[in-house]
Structure formats: C-alpha cells, structure tokens
C-alpha cells in the first residue's frame, strides 16, 4: 500500500480523517485544559502561601 492510497482511504478520506481529526482534537483538549488549570491553581496557591509567610 502506498502512502497516497493510505490517505485516500478508498475514497472515504473525508469521513475517515475528519473522524480521526475530531477525536484527536477533543482528546488533546481534554488533557490540555486540566493541565493549564492545575498550573494556574498551583501558581496561585504558592503565591498566596508566600504572601502570607512574608506578611
């Protein structure tokens, strides 16, 4: 099987690759959003703890 055949998906390229791209996007977003939220929270908590200690 050649690479172009692989991407062509027997004529169903649009349906197959849209499905896979959509899935990839949603799975990645579900990892990135919690990671960002965690980083923000940890930074915020650290800042508060330091502020309280220095007060």
């Amino acid at each position: 099987m050649s690479l172009s055949e692989f991407f062509h998906m027997g004529g169903y390229a649009f349906y197959v690759w849209t499905s896979y791209a959509l899935t990839a996007a949603i799975l990645v977003a579900n990892v990135v959003v919690p990671l960002q939220r965690r980083r923000k929270l940890v930074d915020d908590l650290r800042r508060r703890l330091r502020a309280r200690r220095n007060a």
Binding site: G11, Y15, V16, S19, L22, R38, V42, L45
Partner: protein
C-alpha cells in the same frame, strides 16, 4: 476493601496515590493507542462491504462504549458521595462529566460521519441515536445542576440525583438495537457466540477500547486531583505537597 476505600477517600492520600498512578495510565494510553491505530489503519484489511469507511469503527465504538462506561462510573461515584457524604467521591463524579460528554459527542459525531456514506444520512430519528443524544443532555444537565447552587455540595447532591435517575437510559441505549427496529446495526462484538468480526479488526478495536479506558483514568484522576487541591487549599498537607512550609 471498605477500609481501603475509606482511606483512599481521604484527600491527602487520594492526592498522593493518583500522583503515582497517572504516569502509568498515561504511558499505557500512548502505547495502546499507537498499537491500535497501527493495527486499525494500516494492518487491518478494508471491509468487503464498506471498504475503508469502516475504519471509523476504531474510534466510534470505543467512544460509544466509553460514553456508557463513564456514565456508570459517574453515577456510581455520585451515589457514594450522596450516601456516605465522601467529598472525594463527589469530586470524581464531577471530573467524569466533561469526559463523558466528550465521548458521547464523539460517538455521535463519528457515527454521523460514518452514517453519511453508509446510510446516506447524517442523522436519523432512530432509537439508538436518540437515546445516545439523551445521554449527552444528561451529562450537560449534570454539569449545569452542579454549578447552579451557591453551595458546591448542595449542587453535587442535586446532580447526583439526576445522574441516578438517568441510569435508566443506559440499558435503553444498549438494547435499543434489539428492542426496536433500528437503522443502527446490531452488536458485533458483545455477542455470546463468536463475535462476527475478523480478528484483524477485533484486535485493534479492543486495543483502542483499552487505550480510551486508560486515557479516561489518567484524565479523570488529573482533574479530580486538581479539584482536591483547590478545595483543601487551607490544609497543611497542601502546603507540604506544594513544597512550601
């Protein structure tokens, strides 16, 4: 078992344990998904009726299974939170909801993208499709209800009741293709006799299903862990966990 569960319910322990577990589940997700994608997109032959369009099965079916599985986990955790007032359990339930909604949406969207070339339509008012759509609204309802109260724990209780009532939808989705005359095909894998799917397609399908499961565990724990940290922010263990004295 019960004492173990109770210990795990204590926030600092939950935080520590999940911190150890997440990397393993994350690594398992990557490996299983790589193997499943290779098997499904490269090694498996085209279907004799559907050509290459059937390859959507490797994400559609695992996503649909997960949409039901996550709901059961969510309802189970919500019930434990409701009955024994275990906060960690409420947190796990709330961490499940966006993931469950994501899997349900993916099952519907990839189903639509598969339905168009095979059935000739993006959508049909079919029992299987409609009950899955109701599942999506149950997840949305759960999330909305949780946030609708001033007090987070009141919201968690109200949402838990909705989640438990919504459990009736789960067998309806599962059996919809048998109870009603559905456009959707019947089960090919979970039949008691031999599954009517060739091994070269079944193996990548199961690998993808396991990958989705490992993915769910790692992300749900990640979300729950952050939430535990947030709600326990005043406690001394949080200071220690963050490396601040």
């Amino acid at each position: 078992m019960w004492t173990w569960l109770h210990k795990l319910g204590s926030p600092p322990r939950f935080y520590r344990w999940t911190g150890r577990l997440i990397p393993w589940f994350g690594a398992a997700t990557v490996l299983l998904m790589a193997a499943g994608l290779y098997g499904g997109l490269v090694l498996a032959p085209p279907d004799y009726q559907q050509g290459d369009s059937y390859r959507i099965i490797f994400i559609h079916v695992p996503a649909a299974w997960m949409s039901l599985f996550v709901y059961m986990v969510m309802a189970g955790a919500a019930a434990v939170g409701l009955i024994w007032r275990i906060k960690t359990s409420e947190i796990v339930a709330s961490a499940c909801a966006p993931l469950g909604a994501s899997f349900t949406f993916l099952a519907l969207a990839t189903g639509s993208l598969w339905g168009k070339p095979m059935w000739g339509t993006w959508w049909a008012w079919d029992p299987r499709l409609v009950s899955e759509l109701i599942l999506l609204f149950l997840y949305f309802g759960f999330m909305a209800l949780q946030g609708a109260f001033e007090d987070r724990r009141t919201g968690a209780r109200a949402a838990a009741v909705l989640a438990l009532v919504g459990v009736v939808n789960i067998p309806i989705i599962h059996y919809s293709v048998e109870w009603w005359n559905s456009l959707h095909q019947g089960p090919t894998v979970t039949k008691f006799d031999k599954p009517s799917i060739h091994l070269s397609m079944l193996i990548p399908l199961l690998l993808m299903a396991l990958a989705f499961k490992a993915y769910f565990v790692s992300v749900v724990l990640m979300r729950a862990r952050t939430e535990v940290l947030d709600r326990e922010r005043g406690n001394s263990w949080v200071r220690e966990a963050l490396g601040e004295q």
